[in-house]
Amino acid sequence: MLLEVKNIRKQYQRQTLFCAVDNVSFSLQQRDYACIMGRSGSGKTTLLNIIAGISTPTQGRIIIDNTDIAPFDDEQASQFRNQTIGYVPQGSSLLTNLTAMENICLPYYLYSKNKQPDNIECCNKRAQQLMQMAEISHLSEIYPNQMSGGEMRRVAIVRALICSPKLLLADEPTNDLDDESSRQIMQLFSGLHSQGTTILLVTHDHEVANYASKHFKMEAGKLTDYS
């Protein structure tokens, strides 16, 4: 079992008590390609954030690769996130003052043990391979403000893969992209899946959901099995 989500609940105190994620449990096996469908505001993104360890749940446990991150301090949790999870956030998530290549390699260098010359070469090689696969080799020296939406999204996906994560999370990966770009991105995901990456997508788009092999539906914070 790669990912186990157990009774996750997330509440916000706004004017009233608001339950964004309500008692969600599910699990993913290695090499699964899962998709969570749902309208905007249904709590998909919040759930994804809890899985990634960026938000803390009000209640419940997340176990990734047999590790429970709840007792970790910020330092350990961050390092675990860096090395185990690849996350493609919604919207344009590239750092504008770095080139594509620098954006991609950034997560790799966040932890200091990766700065030996051998590691630098290894990182460069891996970045080049991934960029070739995503067909963005020509962008390596380009800054985000000169890229199209689809190109930015592909750079973000490659960036999520640079540390060879066990689990790839993607939040609305085809949102506000044209059909052609969407298809390219979904093909990239399919390719990654066939190479053995475990993928969890969140989307409101049925066409996108069709690429996945396992489907969940989320409504008002509640998750239901769909397939």
């Binding site: 860096n82 956030p89 750092l95 620098e102 950034l106 070469e121 080049q128 960036r159």
Partner: protein
């Protein structure tokens, strides 16, 4: 195949640097704010130190406690002492012998001031001074090398800023003199004065036709009388005694050096208060401006910080990155400000001191370093302190929310 360039690893430090380079206008403005403080504090405190040293040096070596001048000329004497602006005034000479007998006076020496005309191209007026060698206690403490023999009538001692070396010949009113000795830098009017024997001075006045009227009895006059008072006696009391006995007969005025110097110190004190107040205002201003600029970019930065969190950066890394960023601003501002103040001071210190009319001694290298270090540390504090609120509030927020709020 596409050849990829090898990139340097992106570290937290490089990220901070890139963030600054990305906004050159904002970064420059923030650096200028810190620079204003470091330049004004460093420049101001070094200038104060120079003036202080100059005045202290003068107070230490000016052996006289009381100076007697003709009535109404005390300002002229102060100006002649401090700036070396030439002036001429006269007093009957026999007063010196009479005063000597007053109890408490240990030494009396007269001087004769002659305002020289400008002599030749590119020389301004000099103060020519005749002094009594046998009784002198005013000039000798400043001598660079002791005179081996008595000064001859065709020899002079020159101040440190006179462009002549020992052995050179210089001409005043068509009289040629040999430079017998040179004085140390005094920082005051003596630097631009030329000292000669009383006889030479009288001679010069007579032949150069500088005095109208009682030319034959010219030897009966001096310009000022320098008096040294025993430690056990109050200069004030001595002045009162002289006043009672001779004021009417000789029409006298007095300069008490302690009072003169304490007046200068008072002025210097208010000058340093202005300098430090200004520096304090710049310090606060820099903190307030940087605080506002940073606070106004909190939302913008939350997005960036949110992304870095998602990629696995820990909170302490982000705090480090943001502090390194403001630290760089402070360091650059401190260095440029200190260098700028140093250049301006080196270039114009003489001009500043001359226009203030006060003696100056250039600060030693070691004290400049000490001041530089203090200013550097105070400047270093500015940006990190001003940005700490923003840094903490940027990194405290729940990270993904941070990313979303920045959208």
């Amino acid at each position: 195949m596409h050849i990829m360039p090898q990139i340097k690893p992106i570290t937290i430090y490089r990220l901070a640097w890139r963030n600054l380079a990305q906004k050159p206008f904002r970064t420059t403005c923030l650096i200028i704010m810190t620079l204003l403080f470091s330049a004004s504090l460093f420049g101001g405190s070094i200038l104060t130190k120079n003036l202080n040293d100059g005045i202290a040096g003068m107070a230490n070596r000016l052996g006289a406690d009381i100076l007697i001048v003709p009535y109404g000329y005390e300002k002229e004497l102060e100006v002649a002492l401090l700036r070396g602006e030439p002036s001429t005034f006269y007093l009957k000479a026999d007063l010196a012998q009479k005063i000597e007998k007053i109890k408490g006076i240990t030494a009396v020496s007269s001087q004769l001031f002659i305002a020289s005309l400008s002599a030749g191209c590119c020389t301004s007026k000099l103060q020519l001074i005749g002094f009594e060698q046998s009784t002198d206690f005013v000039i000798s403490p400043w001598m660079k090398q002791q005179l081996t023999a008595r000064l001859h009538d065709n020899e002079v001692v020159v101040g440190s800023k006179i462009l002549a070396d020992v052995g050179d010949e210089i001409t005043f009113f068509n009289h040629r003199f040999r430079v017998a000795a040179k004085m140390d830098s005094t920082g005051m009017g003596f630097d631009t004065s030329v000292f000669m024997t009383m006889d030479a001075a009288y001679n010069l006045m007579k032949t150069a036709d500088l005095l109208s009227g009682d030319v034959d009895h010219i030897r009966n006059y001096v310009s000022s009388i320098f008096i040294r008072v025993d430690h056990d006696y109050q200069p004030k009391a001595i002045v009162n005694q002289i006043m009672q006995k001779y004021a009417v007969e000789y029409n006298l005025d007095f300069v008490m050096t302690k009072v003169m110097i304490s007046d200068i110190y008072k002025w210097l004190n208010s000058f340093s208060v202005i300098v430090y107040t200004l520096a304090a205002i710049f310090w606060l201003l820099a903190i307030v401006v940087i605080f506002i600029v940073y606070s106004s970019t909190i939302n913008e930065r939350k997005r960036e910080v949110g992304i870095l969190r998602i990629l696995g950066a820990s909170r302490s890394m982000l705090v480090k990155m943001l502090f390194i960023e403001s630290f760089i601003i402070s360091v650059i501002g401190a260095i440029i400000g200190i260098i700028f103040a140093t250049i301006v001071l080196c270039a114009f210190s003489m001009l500043i001191c001359q226009s203030l009319g006060l003696p100056c001694i250039n600060a030693s290298f070691s004290s400049a370093i000490t001041y530089g270090l203090i200013v550097f540390i105070l400047t270093l504090i500015i940006a990190p302190l001003a940005s700490s609120y923003s840094v903490l509030s940027i990194t405290r927020t729940d990270s993904y929310q941070a990313y979303r709020e920045g959208e």
